[in-house]
């Protein structure tokens, strides 16, 4: 029997990959990076970097970076809240998670973006919990009814109470790390247990070009020490904050990611790191950052190829759109990105549900995108040889009136070879008219209601929940926040 080929694409030749990595390393050695964090600078200096403390600049030698690369794990295994279900983040495994930290929600009834509230975030978590092709949760909305001083921690607290999936999240303030780590430790039952079974990935975004802010550098140090995977989100904007050529932006991307990885390794050797990003093909007319541009997807696919060459787990912001509502643009940009990202073998693909340059989330889009992800997984499963001979056996009884519907062979394989349509329309025209010409968006809205209705909480064990409540209350108190939105989850 033939081994099933996993469909795959690569945009760069092997020689080109090596050149891009080489220039990235040279850039780190000659120009270095800016690090606005004293401890990170000190650690880099101790590990052999040439550090100018006054200028907050560190030049990283090639051998040092290569050493850090060697100590970074090539694969990470995330576990769900129960600690039972494992998700390999490495190789060509693909996991989707909703695009993170949107500030608005597309309101289905008004078709307007509005500020997200805690109640929306609760619906968001519940809905994602029911979507089987979106493996990870993300702290996907920033609730406007939560004081900024505690909003990073509060959204993770809510998420862990409401969902069993692994999380993609991150800090908004240096003070946010401690309670967020404490939540994860509380769920796992100990620091060592969390290290053994990571439950969340923390995103950290360098400021292009080549700078780590105090907040993001601190997040790298803190996460590395706790054994929490850091996802490095380089985001050069072609021609604005990075070179205008795609290859030039890739050089900067390599340098930024490898510098982040180095900061993690000097804080804790062996710390898990994901080679990721959210770069964009800067729009020279509007000054915007289109995530649905084909050039953006090309940058993503290419840096992921480089990440794989470096034997690192990979991440990208793909499978999302810049459309403002769930229109044809939303569909095609999302599907293109999801397909290209998956064919590139990107391990964590952040995007579903997201609109408007990563600023808006839509519950309806989440369920539509779950259907896109289902198709993508089918595509990745490839074409298998099920029988030997492949089909000749079926034709032994060939006759002019032969049909296949009633064959046991059809019944045996159709659910494995073909996936169900989900929300997409496959009605004959008359049936579609009779059914009220319903659009996929309306069907999605009904599906959102249905799913929220059938969501069943799998509550945290009582002592864990009590511990979480205690941590949250202490964090709020320490930040001078005396009341948080009450929700009846």
């Amino acid at each position: 029997m033939i081994e099933t080929k996993r469909p795959k694409m690569e945009l760069l030749s092997g020689t080109f990959v090596e050149m891009l990595v080489d220039e990235g390393l040279t850039l780190l050695e000659t120009q270095g990076i800016m690090v606005e964090n004293a401890e990170a600078l000190r650690l880099l200096g101790d590990a052999g970097a040439v550090v100018d403390l006054a200028a907050q600049r560190a030049r990283l030698g090639r051998r040092m970076v290569e050493g850090c690369l060697a100590s970074t794990p090539s694969s990470i295994t995330l576990f769900d809240r129960s600690g039972e279900k494992a998700f390999a983040v490495g190789g060509d495994e693909v996991h989707f998670d909703p695009g993170s930290a949107a500030v608005t929600l597309l309101d289905h009834d008004t078709q307007e973006e509005r500020k997200a509230m805690t109640a929306d975030l609760v619906d968001f978590y519940k809905l994602v919990e029911t979507l089987e092709h979106i493996h990870f949760q993300s702290t996907g909305l920033i609730s406007s009814d939560v004081p900024a001083a505690v909003s990073d921690g509060y959204r993770l607290y809510l998420g862990l109470c409401l969902s069993s999936k692994p999380f993609v999240t991150g800090t908004f303030r240096v003070e946010g790390f401690r309670p967020m780590k404490d939540f994860l430790v509380a769920v796992r039952g100990g620091e060592r247990e969390l290290r053994l079974k990571p439950l969340a990935i923390f995103d950290a975004c360098p400021s292009p070009p080549l700078k780590w802010s105090n907040l993001t550098a601190q997040s790298l140090l803190d996460a590395a020490r706790a054994g929490i995977p850091s996802e490095l989100i380089s985001m050069g904007l072609t021609g604005a904050t990075s070179p205008v050529t795609i290859a030039g932006t890739l050089v900067q991307h390599v340098a930024e990611n490898l510098s982040g990885l180095t900061i993690c390794q000097v804080a804790a050797k062996g710390a898990p790191v994901i080679f990721g990003g959210s770069p964009a093909s800067f729009d020279m007319r509007k000054g915007t950052t289109p995530m649905g541009a084909v050039e953006t997807m090309m940058i993503d696919s290419a840096y992921a190829q480089i990440g794989k060459f470096l034997k690192l787990p990979t991440h990208a912001y793909m499978g999302l759109s810049d459309a403002k509502v769930n229109d044809p643009q939303a569909g095609f940009e999302t599907a293109m990105g999801a397909v290209l990202g998956a064919l590139s073998g990107i391990n964590v693909i952040s995007g579903p549900g997201m609109l408007d340059f990563e600023s808006s989330q839509s519950l309806e889009k989440l369920v539509i995108d779950d259907g896109i992800c289902a198709m993508v997984y089918r595509l990745l499963a490839g074409i298998a040889q099920r029988d030997d001979p492949i089909a000749l056996g079926l034709f032994e009884a060939f006759a002019p009136d032969m049909q296949f519907l009633s064959l046991p062979h059809t019944r045996q394989w159709y659910r494995k070879e073909h996936i169900l349509a989900g929300l997409v329309d496959r009605d004959p025209y008359e049936a579609w008219v009779t059914a009220g010409r319903t659009s996929i968006v309306d069907k999605a809205h009904a599906d959102v209601r249905r799913r929220l209705g059938k969501y069943e909480a799998s509550p945290l064990a009582d002592p864990v929940r009590k511990e979480m409540d205690k941590i949250m209350a202490a964090y709020a108190r320490s930040q001078g926040v005396d009341r948080l939105p009450v929700s009846d989850f």
């Binding site: 920033i142 904007l237 604005a240 904050t241 205008v244 020279m284 000054g287 340059f357 600023s359």
Partner: protein, 217 residues
């Protein structure tokens, strides 16, 4: 080079975004003793207007826009010492304080607007990104600016545009300044809501708005 040629070349240098040529032509004008106000008004400024038109027609994009603004600044840098020496006041558009509000490090859009304003003849005080609100007011008071431009790229920081207006009111300075807002989440509606004096959606529109606000054409 006769005067017409000189003026035409200046115009072309700005339209082409050719910094070196724009500066060299300025030096040529100084050397030949040309009427400097005339070369600005009839040489460089029409070039800048043409750039604005090309932008509006969709011919020009941000890289062309910014190169032309840089060329204009290079030309003015050559002419300015000579104008000062002769005690000639070039027609200035007024003083503008600009910056990205505190908590927000996005400055691409703000830089563009600052550059275009400067090229358009305004005296621009660019405070950078993540600027404490008090600093906008301190600077405007110190230099005697009439206009404060506030950029914000995040919905979480745009509220600082509103806070600045409140701060001006508290200090009894609200009527002294025109406050203009911009950035991805801002809008005409937002400007109205927070009691700002105006909103512009891009750098070209911002220059027009500032010109109107400062009582220009």
């Amino acid at each position: 080079m006769n005067k017409d040629e000189l003026l035409r070349s200046m115009n072309e240098a700005i339209v082409a975004g050719n910094k070196a040529a724009a500066a060299a032509l300025g030096a040529e004008a100084v050397r030949s003793g040309a009427d400097l106000l005339e070369v600005i008004e009839k040489g460089y400024v029409p070039g800048l207007q043409k750039v604005g038109e090309l932008w509006e027609q969709g011919e020009y994009f941000l890289p062309e826009l910014i190169s032309s603004a840089e060329a204009m600044k290079a030309a003015m840098a050559v002419l300015k010492p000579e104008l000062d020496r002769k005690n000639i006041e070039a027609q200035r558009g007024g003083k503008v304080v600009i910056g990205t509000v505190e908590g927000d490090i996005h400055d691409i859009g703000k830089n563009l607007v600052a550059s275009m304003l400067q090229a358009g003849g305004f005296e621009v005080y660019d405070l950078g990104a993540d600027v404490k609100l008090e600093r906008f007011i301190e600077k405007a008071e110190a230099v005697g600016a009439g206009i404060i431009c506030l950029s914000a790229l995040l919905t979480t920081t745009m509220t600082n545009q509103k806070r600045l207006i409140g701060l001006l009111r508290e200090k009894g300075l609200r009527d002294k300044y025109k406050v203009l807002v911009g950035g991805a989440p801002a809008s005409h509606k937002w400007a109205d809501e927070i009691g700002a004096d105006g909103y512009a959606e891009n750098a070209v529109a911002a220059v027009k708005l500032v010109r109107t606000m400062s009582g220009g054409d």
